[in-house]
Amino acid sequence: MGVEQKLGNMGVVTTTLENVVNWGRTNAMWPMLFGLACCAIEMMSAQSSSYDMSRFGMELMRASPRQSDLMIVAGRVSRKMAPVLRRLYDQMPEPKWVIAMGDCASCGGVFNNYAILQGVDEVVPVDVYVAGCPPRPEALIHGVMTLYEKVKADKFVPTQEK
């Protein structure tokens, strides 16, 4: 017997603040347009007509880090690009999330050499890793969905340790 039942027909719902905010965050998450290499082409495919990521509130790829809350690192990160990547990450407003798309961004992929970072987690903290070289657009969408689950479980107040 919740209060919802009494008030439901008056158009009022009660919930927790966490739920509302997290619902808002997951339904309009703006990724930053951050294509680096081959994976970026699959990211573009995911945006295009056949896969249509805008179904999940992500049709807006922002070119500016200041307007985005998700960074999809799509492709290999070279040692020359790494400081740029970190600066862009620092420019994004809180809260922010990172998806490492593809093997290269996750662990270096086939390029185990002097030029490529062995995983973008060396420069920015990563929330979701998407495997594949390149991951199919469906895999990317699955990665985004996984991130949504994570965001939905976000707690505003850290649970107190007993």
Binding site: R79, K80, R86, G108, N112, Y114, A115, D121, E122, V123
Partner: protein, 170 residues
């Protein structure tokens, strides 16, 4: 040797001496570093080699004299042939005169060779690194430069390597 290549080799031999190699129909002609600009100009102006298709180098380390071969791959559109010039360069302070005055494309290619092999091009208009970060040291494509291999993680060594990994902070 292809008939069209013969007069070219003759002309080069008359002017610079030097030897050539042949493999699967391709001719590689050796010239000295000091002669390269003249040789390229000759080929471009008198034998219609309009295109410098590729310019690269090979490192024969630990051999030191010559340590490098700088390679100029030329194409002629008019005659539809290709020709290769090779310039042997010694290992201590490798220097070649720049070809940027003959072919504009040599400008970036020589920057790449400078970056990757550390070969200096005398008189180059813009000698900066092109691919690697400005503050990096070493020349990656030299044979004595390590590949920079990171050990792959397996179950038995996962922890060890994970501890060594420089994970980023928030």
């Amino acid at each position: 040797m292809e008939a069209k290549l013969e007069p070219i080799v003759k002309a080069l031999q008359a002017k610079f001496g030097g030897s050539f190699e042949e493999f699967r129909g391709e001719v590689h002609y050796f010239v000295q570093p000091a002669q390269i600009v003249e040789a390229l100009t000759l080929l471009r102006d008198q034998h219609q080699f309009e295109l410098l298709s590729a310019q690269t180098a090979v490192d024969y380390w630990p051999q030191t004299s010559p340590r490098f071969h700088v390679i100029y791959q030329l194409s002629s559109l008019a005659q539809n042939i290709t020709f290769q010039l090779r310039v042997p360069v010694n290992g201590d302070s490798p220097t070649v005169p720049t070809a940027a005055g003959v072919f504009d494309s040599a400008n970036w290619r020589e920057r790449e060779l400078l970056d990757m092999f550390g070969i200096q091009f005398e008189g180059h208009p813009d000698p900066r690194r092109i691919l690697m970060p400005e503050d990096s040291d070493g020349h990656p494509l030299r044979k004595d430069y390590p590949l920079g291999y990171e050990e792959p993680q397996f179950t038995f060594n996962f922890e060890d390597i994970d501890l060594r990994k420089p994970y980023a902070k928030e």
